[in-house]
């Protein structure tokens, strides 16, 4: 009986804090995406007109995210029947967008206006339990080009 009570409490905590954080985070993401809109990001290796570019410095953004109890629980249930793990999808989407924004912010500080040859890396920092997400690091990096002096 006790175990069920504890699980319910953890679920409520996870859901409450988790959904609050997610909403706040998405609002922050929208705001910053609008602000950093004019930093262009491409994953092509070459700028179409390389002779006219200046700059050229590696910029990167990274973030480590972890799942809350509610998301993990729902994902656990979902893994019994198969299909999309929607609870993790929004988490990973937030993580990636956050990492890209951090990279853009670094480029903005340099005075660059575009980032080329962008690559993503995802790695697991800790594998929680035997089924849970644990924590994941999302890393985005690219070369910033624009009118600035490379350091």
């Amino acid at each position: 009986m006790w175990e069920i009570a504890i699980v319910v409490v953890l679920l409520c905590l996870g859901y409450g804090f988790g959904s609050y954080r997610e909403k706040k985070h998405y609002q922050s993401i929208y705001a910053r995406e609008a602000e950093l809109k004019n930093i262009l990001v491409f994953d092509t290796a070459r700028s179409p007109a390389p002779e006219s570019e200046t700059g050229g410095q590696l910029v990167l953004g990274n973030v480590v995210i972890s799942s809350d109890y509610f998301k993990t629980f729902v994902a656990g249930l979902r893994m019994l029947v198969g299909g999309r793990l929607t609870s993790y999808e929004s988490l990973l989407d937030r993580g990636r967008r956050e990492a890209v924004l951090r990279m853009k912010a670094e480029a903005r500080e340099l005075g660059a206006d575009s980032i080329f040859n962008v690559k993503f890396e995802t790695s697991s920092i800790s594998k929680g339990g035997n089924d849970t997400l644990g924590s994941i690091e999302v890393l985005v990096y690219g070369t910033a080009l624009g009118n600035f002096q490379a350091a």
Partner: protein, 108 residues
């Protein structure tokens, strides 16, 4: 929608670059297939259930990336890259990203 992992397409000219587009999905197979795959670990060979899982996931992630490209107004996605990671036992995250462009003379 043209998808390619080359940077330039022969005979086509890029007239507009529209930025990075991504598609991702996290999928799992149901527990019955997991148990069967567990047995296969003893016998070896192709785990068809998981092969299916990865193919479905890849397909869906690509569709999502195309949806993002369409929403941006592109007609091709270049320099496409795939990234796969395991998020939990028996569940895989598939991530596709590329640059959305408008090609001159491209057939949509």
């Amino acid at each position: 929608m043209l998808i390619s992992n080359m940077e330039v397409i022969p005979q086509k000219r890029i007239i507009k670059h529209l930025g990075l587009v991504q598609g991702s999905t996290v999928r799992a197979k149901h527990v019955g297939k997991d148990i069967l795959a567990g047995f296969k670990n003893i016998l070896g060979g192709e785990l068809t259930a998981y092969t299916e899982l990865m193919s479905e996931a890849r397909e869906e992630a690509t569709q999502r990336m195309i949806a993002q490209a369409e929403s941006a107004g592109a007609n091709a996605v270049l320099n496409v890259r795939f990234a796969t990671s395991s998020v939990a036992q028996g569940a895989a995250e598939l991530f596709v990203y590329g640059t959305a462009v408008v090609l001159d003379g491209a057939s949509v």
